[in-house]
Symmetry: D2
Subunit: 338 residues, 4 copies
């Protein structure tokens, strides 16, 4: 951490601060400049509050040199993490894991139909929404536990682990019992209470990036879960919010190489929510594979025009099958399978 | 709602859609264009899912004409809402309500000290964080219930209702018992589960705007609470996320006249979190009053350099007193008091 | 275009507006709603100013149904445009065109060296900056005409057409004489005066997307050039500005399928400026090819640490060669060559 | 400037870099950390290219401690700059300068009418667009020189200096002859060629902030003009681009105290373009005055519904007069006049 003092910072105040830091095991080296005095801190600065120091009247600014996350940081954990989700291994060196299914679980028959289609095309996990976060209180809110039970039937019948979104801590037991991969949605990425609770269980977590969260904040949210003892975290990019109006969100594919470089956690891409438009899903899926993603999560529906939610972005089964075929060829080029 | 069909949309498909809409009580008028065919829908379209219709293969796009919120909409509720918070009336035509106090409650003595100072300067509500949402799991997480109890003591001693943030639904009973105004933080603005639970209680809610949420989404979150039966909602702007790096967030003051025009709910401004910088708080507070805000929520600390959280943005008591004095003069110009 | 009137809009005013529109050859169909009256306009609305109508006191809002661009619009020009740049054909159905070279042209020897390397690896155009847009007036501003002359030598020696950025209209003659593909930089995307002048010449233009411009505005800038008579426009995405701090800009790859769908113009990706980081360039280049891009423009330098500009994002020649090899394999999967 | 080396950076490489820096008069202090080695540079680092150093393979990151602008920096120029525009003094300690007039100059009569109205209400400069930057090539592009001549007549008749936008360098002589304050529009804020030319003349410049430019980039653009010798720069905020859809842009009022703190240049607010909506202009104007702005630039039209451009955001004369009256009262509270 680098502290820049103001031009006329009183020596006495500076010394008091340095003594305080020293008492926390942190030593400081001074760099005397013409217009500023700068101090470099050495020691474990992870728990120092940069903004608090910046608030001191004689301090000009404070900058972090090392990342504020430890457990999610590749520097301290160089080998790749591979997460086992009900027998499916997700992470570097593994086949690219494709998770597919409807946006919302609507009924038993449709769920079975869609599962059958995505399994046939090569999906290894079944996705679906049982509890649905909806912007409007007047929209369909999901079947809840009933929906999860239909998904559990799919798991038995098609041997596909299931992934679905958890919206509140009071349902954690239900999810631990029935679900293989617990999704934390974009809107809950900084629901710290929920993250803490998930740190205490022994189930893989799919942590979606918030619509307006930096990669650093995302890794800090992973850190929350890991600090609680649960290191089975898979990151998922699903588009960020920008000024562009022709897409629902802007898919930030550069996260793939960045996460690979800064963290050891697996990274999965969700092209369906990122674009909000079926016509863009194939191109973005292939791009994600080429960029090095460890997995994809894609919405598929046998009757998108009548889907209970997000029909506009759901693929038809034949579109999904065609995407899988092309994806396989591209995976091969980048040294993976699918 | 306006539906634009593609150039060669099959008449049969269009007719099927129109019949489906008709069965929901919605009638359509056709506008035959050169390159597109457009249909205008008349009826209650609030519960129609625009994106679902947009997903139909023969539809080009769908646009809403009326806002998707009803209860929060001034069109259907022309008179201003005034919310009573423990005897303090907040809303149009009322004195501008200033809520002040530390970012986090740290201990009994400090709490009392700060409360005494802000009361003296003219604050009418006492703010403080008991449960703290922190980006890092290694930062101070708040005193919890103990903190709320110190705040409750302040209420008795200084006759100031209290406002503090609720982070999870399992604490609702605790908050209903002890707190006068329950704050929903920016990161929970779309925690729909929490919003639903808050719709069932009879306590005023301070609903902060999410860091990357549009005004429309914000009003939809208010709608969630109101649809549950709790119409005591106060909106609070605290800055949005942009590319700018010299401030923590960008304070969007235009929400003040926009909310006044589109909704009947009171609007409060939080200049402390919006700027993240004590040196900007006074200017932004005065600007908010000039723009017509119904209230302010400001962080004040007697010893900011040693505050447990957000010291950089907390005012010294004398700065707060000076702000209040200038604010009073500006309030008068815009026909309010403070 | 759809005009929504306010609830109590005076009939007389509405009629006056409709008559005015009619005199411009535009007819209106009325949709009588409960809370609003809506009019759908039929005719050539391209030259109508939506915001002007929206400014009328009795109008609630105005929405466009059709895109405001005509010449760049695929609806009116269904077949793909292929642009011939000094013999290299760029566009759908053609080999993916890779343009490579240093950020800035520094001297004759280095220019030759780099050109030799990129040619060997398979680049078909040579890129380089002669006039450099720099945020700081104290940074290297480019060699100007001298730089273009070194590039022209490269063209003769290696048979590669050249692309370089034009910063002001007074240099157009120089560029028409010496340059094969004239680049309009992101910061000049809405320099309308410059766009108009480029509409009058007969040279291909590489139009970069502005840092904060929507796809629609970008196509409108293409329309400026095309409306002047020059239809040889190639679009180039180079990252947009978002809140993320780990990359210089956010590469928006979804523009590839979107441009293909809405326009007939070729689309090229610049992964170097988009990421600002050499370590991310390969992944993003392969992703762009997989997404369907018609070309790439990549910075390569034989000694990046001592490059006069943007060394951090320039590839070493061997990295570029390796990228080209992988790119070739991916291009094949999506039915292209490279 | 702070350079952080990678963990295993070869000592030899580090030494070579340090010697290179030393030869430029810059000395380095080392801070030996556990995971990183950090060097603090002392000397004039303004002309160092941070990104170039960051590109070195053994460097982890580079951070600036001091701002990259010198001439626009308050640290090196503590007293406020006051710019004289045709006799009207703009800057700290002076009356708040209100510039008003139509978006576009349309004809002589209208120009006179509007000027008469804004003069009467208290405007001290007359604004108007003669050369108009328009997103669409099919929109009205302005009267050009003819428009400027009508403005010049207004100056004589009403004794108001005039401000209008310059779109290209070839018109500079025309502007130097006829215009009192030359506006650089948001879309040209980083048209560096134009900025350089403006550095060579002796006329005040109104430099608008780009739609997606940081405050630092904005000050760097001011630095371009000042480095050429023209220090008469006035900054103008006109809204930035965000995800919000209820306003045209998001007015960032926090720039007022930030510019006051970091620079000595005057700061003016444009509420008309920032909001794009007449109904929001008064509230934002009063807020700007309360925040400490040195001036306002506001669009006024006698017949907004028929304005040739931006009628939706133009005030009626009586609205402008009422705004001025309230503004006067608020200016008094913050120690200014208007």
């Amino acid at each position: 951490m680098i502290i820049t003092m103001k031009k006329n910072a009183p020596r006495q105040e500076i010394d008091r601060l340095l003594r305080e830091l020293e008492s926390q095991g942190i030593s400081a080296t001074e760099i005397q400049g013409t217009d500023y005095n700068v101090f470099g801190l050495v020691g474990n600065t992870t728990s120092l509050d940069a903004r608090k120091i910046e608030g001191l009247p004689f301090v000009d600014n404070v900058q972090r040199v090392s990342a504020p996350y430890k457990l999610a940081n590749r520097v301290f954990h160089p080998e790749d993490t591979v997460v086992d989700v009900g027998g499916v291994k997700i992470g570097a060196g593994q086949p690219i894991a494709v998770m597919a299914g409807p946006c919302a679980i609507e009924n038993r028959e449709l769920t079975d139909q869609i599962a059958c289609e995505v399994k046939k095309a090569g999906a290894v996990l079944f996705r679906g929404g049982a509890y649905k976060p909806r912007t409007s209180p007047y929209s369909f809110q999901g079947l809840g536990l009933e929906g999860i039970q239909y998904m559990a039937e799919v798991r038995e019948r098609y041997h596909m682990p299931i992934v679905t979104e958890l919206m509140s801590a009071d349902k954690i037991d239900e999810f631990v019992e029935h679900v293989d991969l617990i999704q934390v949605g974009a809107r809950n990425m900084q629901n710290f209470q929920l993250l803490k609770e998930l740190g205490r269980i022994d189930k893989p977590i799919l942590l979606k990036r918030g619509l307006a969260n930096t990669i650093e904040e995302w890794l800090m949210s992973a850190e929350y879960i890991m600090a609680g003892g649960n290191e089975k975290v898979i990151l998922c990019e699903r588009g960020i919010r920008t000024f562009e109006k022709y897409t629902r969100n802007t898919l930030d594919l550069s996260v793939v190489p960045i996460i690979k470089q800064r963290s050891h956690l697996p990274i999965v891409i969700d092209p369906s929510h990122a674009t909000g438009d079926r016509k863009l899903v194939e191109a973005m899926s292939l791009a994600a594979i080429a960029a090095g993603a460890d997995g994809l999560i894609i919405e598929v529906h046998t009757d998108p025009p009548h889907a209970a939610s997000d029909g506009a972005q759901s693929l038809y089964p034949e579109q999904f099958a065609s995407l899988m075929e092309k994806g396989r060829a591209i995976a091969k080029v980048v040294g993976r399978s699918l």
